[in-house]
């Protein structure tokens, strides 16, 4: 469903992506792992068109991601950002229903609010949270609201950028379980980027290791521990020694 073919992206002299090839099947959950600064977020942003790749092709359902109706293209996606990226000036329910309050998916105010409250409930938040502002929420609650916003318009494809960063282990577990449940329940295609190996095991059907600007290894999560790939082994066991240079 999503295919990246030879995608390159450089920022000045820093060549972040150097020919990324990756396929994500419809209805599957792909988790991209890799060290900090290896271009995981850049890869996701290239698919969404937030960053324009220097070379290569990105196909969604066989069609070039950069062509066609942009609004219709983006309407298929939901995204949970690393820091939540909630709009400070809007109450929680308007954050969740943002897409339903304007544009092609616009619905009446009451209906949009009802959807927001329903999605908040789906991610384990009470209806009272709807009228709070993002600054009044804890980090975990902000992640949940971000998750509710990502699923509010029932997207076919959901991206999760570091969904558990900054959360305690218990809250991380809760978010991982929520993501897994929601993705399965909605039948959505999911792409997640994370360093958190607990998240990988909880969320992934397939895993891809991004290192040195290319996908070093990709395969089912069940094969990850016996891959025999030295890069993947080093990463999943968190070893300082190995082919991945650790800066000390």
């Amino acid at each position: 469903m999503i295919a990246m073919r030879g995608v390159h992206k450089a920022f000045g002299a820093n060549r972040v992506l150097q020919g990324v090839d990756l396929e994500v099947g419809k209805g599957t959950s792909m988790v991209i792992i890799g060290g900090s600064g290896t271009g995981k977020s850049v890869a996701l942003k290239c698919i969404l068109g937030l960053i324009r790749p220097d070379a290569g092709r990105i196909l969604v359902d066989g069609k070039d991601a950069g062509s066609g109706d942009r609004d219709a293209f983006l309407a298929r996606f939901g995204m949970l950002f690393q820091g939540g990226a909630l709009f400070d000036s809007l109450p929680v329910w308007q954050n969740v229903s943002f897409r339903l309050l304007r544009g092609s998916l616009k619905r009446p105010l009451e209906e949009a609010r009802a959807v927001a409250v329903d999605k908040l409930r789906r991610v384990g938040l009470k209806a009272e949270v709807a009228d709070l502002f993002p600054a009044e929420l804890s980090g975990g609650m902000q992640k949940r609201v971000g998750l509710a916003r990502a699923i509010a318009a029932e997207p076919e494809i959901i991206f999760f950028d570091e969904p558990t960063s900054g959360l305690d282990p218990i809250m991380s577990g809760v978010i991982n379980d929520l993501i897994r449940e929601i993705v399965v329940e909605m039948g959505a295609t999911a792409m997640t980027i994370t360093h958190d190996m607990r998240s990988v095991r909880a969320i992934a059907d397939n895993v891809a290791l991004l290192h040195g600007g290319i996908i070093k290894w990709t395969g089912p999560v069940a094969e990850m521990d016996d891959s025999g790939d030295p890069y993947l082994d080093q990463f999943i066991h968190g070893r300082a020694d190995g082919p991945i240079e650790a800066v000390r």
Binding site: L48, L74, F81, Q82, A85, L86, R102
Partner: protein, 260 residues
């Protein structure tokens, strides 16, 4: 030292300046096109009107009243050197309406509104809120920039008009209370001396300065660097650019309206 080095430096500086002018012009044209084309965001526009207009009234009013009062004192003291104290009402009126009103309101808007727009948008950029807008099928230029620039275009001339009146009132207060002018004569001299072109130039300057102030806030916010330092630089740069551009635009507009 190679004699061409200074020339090379000069050339590089000119090229950088031209590139910056090009980027800002492109940004301004983009903002104008988004103001004219739907979808429109009336709620955002309403918020911008409140922020740029209503909430700026206190600072504009205080700036104008003190400036008008000080101007009256200066003109009286200066005029006394050649027995021209009587021109206080006329010079206060013309000084406030043609120059000080629009320029001071413009600079106050640059200080208050440009900085707040730049800091807000830059923070949104740093915290990925602008990326989030895009993924939610909302164009940031349309949602963030167009309402603010349009609101400034409409409301800053009003602020300038109010500033002009309050400034003249400041001069009137000082003239009547401290300098012994007759109240009715002061008002008559003020009204008789002002011409429609004075008021039109004041309002046009207000519109231009408002657009500059909002555009610079948006431009620097949208192009901010990362982290707190990026937000700080964007805020500082936006106010500097807006203030300099307002003063330069004032010079040009004064030439356009009043060159002999």
């Amino acid at each position: 030292m190679n004699p061409l080095v200074p020339l090379e430096r000069l050339g590089r500086a000119v090229l950088l300046a031209l590139a910056a002018i090009g980027r800002i012009t492109r940004f301004a044209l983009g903002a104008a096109s988004h103001i004219l084309r739907p979808p429109f965001y009336p709620r955002e526009f309403g918020h911008a009107l409140m922020n740029v207009g209503w909430l700026s009234l206190p600072v504009v009013g205080l700036t104008a009243i003190f400036t008008g009062g000080a101007l009256a004192l200066q003109i009286y003291a200066g005029g006394a050197r050649f027995n021209a104290e009587a021109v206080v009402p006329q010079i206060v009126a013309i000084g406030m309406v043609r120059e000080l009103g629009p320029v001071l309101v413009g600079l106050m808007i640059a200080a208050r509104v440009t900085s707040s727009i730049a800091a807000e948008i830059a923070t949104m950029k740093v915290t990925e809120q602008i990326d989030a807008l895009v993924t939610l099928s909302t164009h940031p230029m349309k949602y963030l920039v167009a309402p603010r620039v349009f609101a400034a275009l409409i409301v800053v001339p009003l602020l300038v008009g109010i500033g002009d009146i309050i400034g003249i009132a400041g001069g009137y207060g000082v003239g009547v209370q401290n300098l012994g002018f007759n109240a009715a004569a002061y008002l008559k001299n003020t009204v008789d001396f002002l011409e429609p072109l004075d008021v039109i130039s004041s309002l046009v300057k207000g519109a231009v300065f408002g657009v500059i102030a909002a555009l610079m806030g948006c431009y620097y916010g949208m192009n901010s660097g990362r982290g707190a330092q990026g937000v700080g630089r964007a805020t500082k740069g936006s106010v500097e650019a807006a203030a300099v551009m307002i003063l330069a635009a004032n010079f040009v507009l004064t030439g356009v309206f009043f060159s002999v």
